[in-house]
Amino acid sequence: MKDEHPMAGQALRDISLLGSKALIFEPECPFDLASQRRIWAMAEAAGQWPGVREAVPGMTNLTLLFDTAPADIEALSGALRALWDSGIERQVPGRLLEVEIAYGGPGGPHLADVAAATGLSVAAVVEIHSAPVYTVFAVGSHAGYCYLGGLDPRLFVPRRKVPLVSLPGGSLSVAGMQTGVSASAGPSGWHTIGTADVAFFDPRRDPAALLRPGDQIRFVVGGLTE
């Protein structure tokens, strides 16, 4: 390895290259909404910079995708750090979407597993999960998928040991500190506790993704099968 490479240096740990046409900025910060609002503010500003195709919020981090590789990484890094250090938060006047969930049953095969892992009753898991208003921190992974903040720590459970090869779209799952509803069928290592009938992504719609960072979701119990 070439140790002279800037990305090998500890000093630059918050900024790393993702190939020649992308870069990740990951500040040291708490995993909370205030940090995420700073990331949204950065995304809005950096997305306007020349050569930046997209500035995409992750979970308290930001990925820049470039049209062409940036000529001066140092200058860009400085600008990103200054933007973060400004502490400016973006208050998004987000929409609140109520999503009806059929908890348990064939669409939520791991509800009992989550109850067992948390020591709660199935009814308590559902009550706790459907209580908060969740905030869309980021959109990604697959089209229209929302990374949500706001899961009650009592529902934090490790991922499943054996992932499912394919989970239908609309599946509500929990894993770690996260919860979310899949927008299309795909593999998953999370615990699926329910199902929703919502088109989170529709290419015929503009915008195609239903929700944006800063929008909010409340899960409404549409049914519970133990």
Partner: protein
């Protein structure tokens, strides 16, 4: 117009992929070997990003329902047009009723069929590629099936090709990058590079990895040395691009490719440079891969070299067309 006659599946319409859709979580899709697609389009005078057919599994056959100039690039599949052998890269004009057949893959992994004018499928969200997970784009948002009919965009100028067509030097010969039997892939170190043990970093560059049987358009699982981390950092989900080499718990590396998720959270040792992604697209199960870390300036030089290659091919093609005009 063409009609698909035989396909075991896994063939799809692809262009160079979607840009600017990460904000809604939509990945790039696009040809796994973008070089082959560009080359085929170049041979036909198409825009280099015109949509073509990516064939991942043979036997594959299509019938031309009208006279049509086409190019075959990418993997060497013992292809024939009505029994007459064609060596990729090859471009020629087929007569209505002729059948293009692709047989067992002899070299490489994916073949590309481009039609003059490009495939006439709707542009959705900035591209014509098939978005397989989301089920849109390309031809009806799905893998091609026998009986599917596809049309090329009409072009005004009649093609000027020799009757038997013409070929080019295969890109693997024109742009060699091998280390022994292995395909050499240049890599830019990524965020967690220094979190890997010195042994893991050494093994990453010194040992051979093989493409496992779990390889598809979303990514390749590799078989090779276990790459251990000495420092576990909490990783929060962040952007992921095609080419990134992730190491999930267990230590066996994965390369994310065209249909990969837009975000992920596994430790990343590096990212295969854009100029070498096509080489992965032509690596099938069992293929040997070697990684070599490079600097950003080396990565950019490699990209410039690839563009020089295309410029040289374009120049050679116009010289050939001029000669043909002069003689016809």
């Amino acid at each position: 117009m063409i009609e698909i006659i035989t396909t075991p599946g896994l063939a799809s319409v692809q262009d160079l992929g979607r840009d600017g859709q990460y904000f809604q979580g939509l990945g790039r899709a696009g040809a796994m070997d973008p070089l082959a697609l560009r080359l085929g389009n170049l041979m036909l005078g198409n825009p280099q990003g015109a949509a073509g057919i990516e064939v991942q599994m043979t036997p594959f056959a299509l019938r031309f329902l009208a006279d049509q100039t086409f190019a075959l690039t990418g993997a060497e599949t013992g292809a024939t047009l009505d029994g007459q052998p064609l060596c990729a890269p090859w471009a020629m004009t087929a007569k209505a009723g002729q059948v293009l057949s692709l047989g067992p893959v002899r070299q490489g992994c994916r073949a590309y069929i481009a039609l003059q004018g490009g495939l006439d499928v709707p542009e959705i969200l900035g591209a014509r590629s098939t978005q397989l997970r989301e089920g849109f784009g390309g031809h009806e948002g799905r893998w091609l099936r026998a009986g599917d009919q596809l049309q090329a965009v009409a072009v005004s100028a009649a093609p000027l090709l020799p009757a038997r067509g013409f070929g080019l030097t295969p890109p693997g010969v024109a742009l060699p990058a091998r280390e022994g039997d292995a395909v050499l892939l240049r890599v830019l170190p990524a965020a967690e590079y220094t979190d890997f043990t010195p042994d893991a970093r050494r093994a990453f560059e010194a040992e051979t990895f093989r493409v496992s049987r779990q390889f598809n358009r979303a990514g390749y699982r590799l078989e090779g040395p276990d790459l251990a981390l000495h420092a576990g950092r909490e990783l929060r989900s962040h952007g992921v691009v095609p080419g990134v080499v992730q190491v999930p718990p267990g230590g066996q590396a994965i390369i994310q490719l065209a249909d990969a998720a837009t975000m992920g959270g596994y430790p990343k040792i590096g990212t295969v440079i854009g100029a070498d992604l096509w080489r992965i697209g032509q690596a099938a199960a069992g293929a040997a891969l070697r990684f070599r870390c490079v600097s950003l300036s080396e990565a950019l030089a490699a990209e410039a070299e690839l563009e020089t290659y295309f410029a040289q091919v374009a120049q050679a093609l116009s010289a050939r067309a001029a000669r043909h005009l002069a003689w016809s």
